[in-house]
């Protein structure tokens, strides 16, 4: 039983890290109809600013630098690269996001070297024992900071603003004819997503390790989680990633640790066959 609780808890921590990126995918998708696959690489870039670029300075200032450098890069990429491409072809937009992700990842590898870097948790290296269950301070910090940020994002993008996002997503021109500033909505979701990506990028390395290439798998798994729950709402996308994190952890703990990644993508294929709109999206929902 203790084992089980331990495994679920560590799965929840992993799930929160995925969920931060899932939430970013979901709000950007809702506001622009575009899946920004550069988020994984941008998170890693934030990780390098947080743990590698300025050794010796306090973690708070490193995290702040990650935010003020990487979030504007993400917004700039939207305005200069993705928005003009997505307007003409959403599919080309997705491919360009993958391309940018590779450019960022190679730039990181070139600048900082393709070696794993250590990342000390901003919450310290302590451990707490409750019953037989052990929790690191990092795990608790991730659950707290990530949980608060995810809850805030879900609340901010529910009800009224969710309707605006849906309207832009379903019929952008009609939304504009009603007075909605569609470009500003797109910019707003991009800025919020940038913050989520940076937070994920700073919280993840102590748990996942830090290499230039870790963003690819993290970004993809977070996308799987978002689709699992339902990509067009933040709440469902977050729930999907939490479930995926716990399921991955249970699979790794009880069945095979080596096949975890295969399990994740196996689940993905299964979901796409059985419920392509996501587990939590009502059957009456229409796609345009």
């Amino acid at each position: 039983m203790t084992d089980f609780v331990q495994i679920v808890l560590s799965g929840a921590v992993v799930g929160v890290l995925y969920a931060l990126l899932s939430a970013a995918y979901a709000i950007v998708y809702a506001g622009t109809g575009f899946v920004n696959f550069s988020f994984g690489a941008l998170a890693v870039l934030a990780g390098y600013f947080g743990y590698v670029a300025m050794p010796g300075s306090a973690i708070e200032s490193r995290a702040l630098v990650a935010l003020v450098v990487v979030a504007p890069i993400s917004v700039g990429a939207w305005l200069l690269v993705f928005e003009p491409i997505v307007r003409r072809s959403p599919v080309a937009g997705v491919i360009s996001a993958f391309a940018l992700a590779i450019v960022i990842q190679e730039a990181v590898a070139f600048t900082a070297g393709n070696v794993p870097r250590s990342a000390d948790s901003p919450f310290g290296s302590g451990l707490e024992r409750v019953g037989g269950v052990v929790m690191s301070h990092h795990a608790m910090g991730v659950l707290l900071v990530g949980g608060v940020l995810l809850a805030a994002t879900i609340i901010a993008f529910s009800t009224r603003s969710a309707d605006v996002l849906k309207a832009v997503h379903q019929d952008r021109e009609m939304a504009m004819l009603l007075g909605v500033r569609a470009r500003r909505v797109a910019l707003g979701v991009t800025v919020c997503a940038g913050v989520l990506v940076v937070v994920a990028g700073v919280l993840a390395p102590p748990a996942f390790g830090l290499t230039p290439y870790v963003g690819t798998s993290m970004g993809l798994v977070a996308f799987v989680g978002a689709v699992l729950g339902g990509l067009d709402r933040v709440g469902t996308a977050v729930a999907g990633s939490l479930i995926l994190g716990v399921a991955e952890s249970l699979f790794g703990g009880y069945i095979s640790s080596d096949l975890r990644t295969a399990f994740v993508f196996g689940v993905f294929i299964l979901v796409l066959i059985v419920r392509p709109v996501g587990l939590f999206v009502g059957a009456t929902k229409q796609k345009v």
Binding site: R160, A167, E173, G179
Partner: protein, 242 residues
């Protein structure tokens, strides 16, 4: 009553991707009057509306509202917020947003005063009791007639000065149509201006005092409903062909 405001197109041309679709269109609609724009399918009526609302490119001439030239820099959202509202062809209801949520969205997007929301909702529900019954229903689950009611209600939530309706009769049962038309005409006294775009010229001429006939991207005839109904050109070009 205050001085009427005028939406004015003077020799305006509009099109897409650099190709003009309608040329040298001149027409005027003032607050407090109902004007029709009729013409066969493909005459350029919808492109003219897209020009008015800023979703087609202006390619010459002038498009002005309350004396201000609405150039390419006037985005659709700006036009919506300045008192121009559209009930578009095909209704364009958001399928997965609820009825009341769409009404609220239209209110907010046009920057209407928050404290008037309940009053405006009540006004729309009074005209369309059917929408009140369906207020939680998602737009995509409404019947065609209900969607038309929602499209009109959505525009009315914006308290427009000029309401442009592309095919008012579309999807509405004849009795509902008559009722809605009467309600809209009743709003003229409060200073609403109406531009009714119809394929069915007879319906449009019954509702409006004057109007325009479009054909092949041009305005080919204008005048009072009476004059136009009598005109041989109207019959040759259009009514006779129906």
């Amino acid at each position: 009553m205050t001085e009427p405001s005028t939406l004015s197109l003077a020799a305006a041309s509009y099109g897409y991707d650099g190709v003009p679709i309608v040329r040298d269109v001149s027409l005027e609609v003032a607050t407090g009057e109902a004007v029709f724009l009729v013409g066969p399918n493909g005459a350029g009526k919808s492109t003219t509306l897209a020009g008015i609302f800023g979703t087609a490119e202006p390619m010459g001439g002038s498009t002005s509202w309350r004396g201000d030239e609405m150039g390419a820099s006037w985005g659709p959202h700006q036009r919506a917020r300045s008192g121009l509202s559209l009930v578009p062809e095909g209704r364009r209801i958001f399928p997965s947003i609820g009825v009341e949520a769409q009404l609220r969205l239209a209110h907010r997007a046009a920057r209407r005063i928050r404290s008037e929301l309940d009053h405006d909702l009540g006004f729309v529900y009074e005209i369309f009791p059917r929408l009140a019954e369906r207020r939680q229903q998602q737009g995509g689950l409404l019947s065609g007639g209900e969607q038309q009611m929602l499209a009109i209600g959505r525009a009315l939530m914006q308290a427009p000065s000029i309401l442009v309706v592309d095919e008012l009769s579309m999807g509405l049962a004849p009795t509902v149509y008559q009722d809605v038309a009467d309600r809209l005409l009743g709003l003229l006294r409060d200073g609403l201006g109406l531009l009714l775009v119809e394929q069915n010229a007879r319906l449009a001429m019954k509702l409006c005092h004057r109007g325009y006939l479009m054909s092949n991207g041009n305005i080919v005839l204008s005048g009072t409903s009476h004059e136009m109904a009598e005109s041989g050109e109207m019959h040759d070009l259009y009514l006779g062909a129906q």
